[in-house]
Symmetry: C2
Subunit: 411 residues, 2 copies
């Protein structure tokens, strides 16, 4: 349990409202025109931004917040929400979804900073900031196997547990794993996929991670499941991988690699997978076009993360090594539903999270989960699964039909 | 029927062989080391390039050809083969496949020339050169519906006719066509897909083409099938399309668009498809990485064609318009099999083709079909189907399972 300094304030009326505040309000209303929300100031006055019934009321609790929303919108919205200087009364996900749709997407917005390569030391810092919040925290609201990536819902009413197992099977089937093969996994989280592959597909796995908490957890589970001889969890960055395997898999790591390291990742994949029948799968959060990540998420939730477009990923990671794309699937709506499950479980455990951290932490994570759900729902974010192989490999099945026929038989 | 000037020679021994010819032969042997072929000169002497049993003997019939093979390899091989100055005795496809594998792929080889935009006038010239050879010629060896693009074989033993119908259904299912919708097709060949969509999926279609022969054929078939009120064949380039549709489809046209027109194509798609539920599919020959097309194919078969990598296509055509990639499938082996069928039918009709044109034409097309089959077989060429949609559209099915379940029911 780590304590965080709380900047939470209860948020009360701070000052009388005049022409300046009205002007600020009208500027915000102009930018968000059409969003199905009402924006309200600390004295109760406000405006509806659409003629339709508002899904929520955004309450701005003081003048400083109102002003800062004009020039550091994204950062201020998140920080003020976390601190309680801004509140959303009503349906938070629907409000964020509606704001996204009103603002529209901004393709080819200029990206600033972070153009440099991400060195290993900052990779470690970035990963620790997010993934080392403590296994106890994530256990509160993830599924029983601790999968912190998009699930695969055969039908929308599947449980999260079922959908996470289905995701692992979907990945294994796309990789066409055969008993006795060797798999390298880059960025293995709490180890569920590595253990699943070994147990149900008869392969050996070396899984790499740089989060100490996750590695400790994964090793304990390998031990408990009697899989320690077939699954090795290695403390190392993807750049440290130097061994041959039949398949390479990475689920939810590419977002943390950094655009300028894509050719390095391609070189790693090229030296790992078998020169004739080697294949791999990259599962990652992406965008429809290059766009900078929210400044608030970058600063307060996922430092250094970048969800790339396919056009950014493919040249460096695969084309530079003459690897052949065999399949791309977009599971955007599956991630929206995964996040809906996480958010509901998180809310159920909000009291415990508050005790472990503080109210600002609870509100930061609530906004992050709700905002992510909204982003996948409205098409601002994508979830790509890219399957690839060596150009000479002609052993893949004739169609993709087997991915769907094998569902009931595999496990 | 158009006559072509024949440059075919019967190919006989032309000159005595000395140290210079031996040096040329050793240079060629060095470049192709490992290919499962024997290279033989006009007097019968030769070398095997691999220790394995040769699949064919490449016979070089004169000194000029031997020398030119050293410095304009690709062009000379094709031109000499067409003219009979070079022959391949044995399995032509296997020989070309083996040569491809021996040479290996050359990613990021410098591309020369043709960096400019392809203006409408040269698009017309390029298209006429290939597609206006006469419907009678193509009818000799294509399937009964005259589809001149990759088929989709549910199983490898399906007939070409069945596989071409399955391809059209696969495309229609990926587009999720609903009765009453309107579809725009860019580059419609002899019109089979447009008619299929209208007849079996209940949509109206406007299909664009700039090949006069193909348009005439397509219109006659629409008339004969009583579909003229629902399918319109328009004499126009993709740039002329200016209407709204629910879906945009293009099968085998992107190869002729030219890399520097991709953002123009993106703009056309963006103004065509519905702003909320619009979607589309691009079916095209591609590469694993940017690479110049064979100089021989560019000069003698497909002027102006360029098979792009996904990394070249996506930024201009889709990302520039914030369109969302929903599915990519690679049907490389299906194209190898399609070409195998075409080549077999072409050989059956070689006598008729010779009467329509001449021997050099027969040999040019034999080499083109065999070389293409080899290129898809060995992973030098890819066939991509890219499905895309508007970012806000959330009406797609939950998984791709329906693409495979619906197969028997659709038609």
């Amino acid at each position: 349990m780590r304590a965080r300094t709380s900047s939470f304030t209860s948020g009360t009326a701070t000052s009388p409202i005049g022409a300046f505040e009205d002007w600020c309000l009208s500027r915000i209303a102009g930018t968000l025109q059409g969003a199905q929300i009402r924006v309200q100031l600390w004295d109760g006055r406000g405006v509806a931004l659409s003629e339709r019934m508002p899904v929520a009321t955004v309450v701005v609790r003081d003048r400083g917040t109102l002003v800062r929303l004009l020039y550091r919108t994204d950062l201020e919205f998140g920080e003020a929400y976390a601190a309680g200087r801004l509140d959303v009364q009503g349906d938070l996900v629907a409000a964020l979804d509606s704001i996204n749709r009103a603002v529209g997407f901004r393709p080819f917005q200029r990206r600033r900073a972070r153009a440099g390569r991400i060195p290993l030391s900052s990779s470690r810092h970035n990963v620790h900031t997010h993934y080392d919040l403590g296994n106890a925290f994530y256990r509160l609201w993830l599924d029983e196997q601790m999968l912190y990536t998009c699930a695969y819902f055969e039908t929308p009413d599947a449980t999260l547990e079922t959908a996470q197992r289905a995701k692992m099977d979907h990945v294994c089937r796309k990789l066409r794993l055969r008993p006795g093969e060797h798999v390298v996994e880059a960025g293995c989280g709490w180890g569920a996929l590595a253990l699943h592959m070994a147990r149900y597909y008869g392969v050996t796995v070396r899984a790499f991670n740089i989060s100490a908490n996750q590695l400790e957890y994964a090793r304990a589970h390998a031990q408990a499941q009697g899989l320690s001889d077939r699954v090795t969890f290695v403390d190392g960055d993807y750049r440290a991988i130097d061994e041959r395997a039949d398949a390479f898999v990475s689920v939810g790591m590419l977002e943390h690699v950094g655009r300028h390291n894509y050719t390095d990742l391609g070189a790693v994949i090229d030296r790992v997978i078998d020169p004739v029948h080697g294949r791999g799968l990259l599962h990652f959060i992406g965008r429809n076009a290059p766009l900078k990540l929210s400044a608030w998420i970058d600063r307060h939730v996922f430092p250094g993360a970048y969800p790339p477009s396919l056009g950014e990923v493919l040249p460096g990671v695969l084309e530079s090594r003459w690897l052949s794309v065999t399949d791309v699937e977009n599971l955007r709506l599956h991630y929206a539903l995964t996040l809906k499950h996480w958010l509901a479980r998180f809310e159920d455990q909000a009291g415990t999270v508050r005790e472990m951290f503080d109210e600002a932490f609870v509100r930061t994570w609530r906004l992050y989960l709700a905002g992510s759900q909204a982003a996948f729902q409205c098409g601002d974010m994508q979830l790509f699964q890219v399957t690839f192989g060596r150009p000479l490999d002609s052993t893949q099945p004739w169609t993709r039909r087997d991915l769907y026929e094998a569902v009931d038989a595999a496990v």
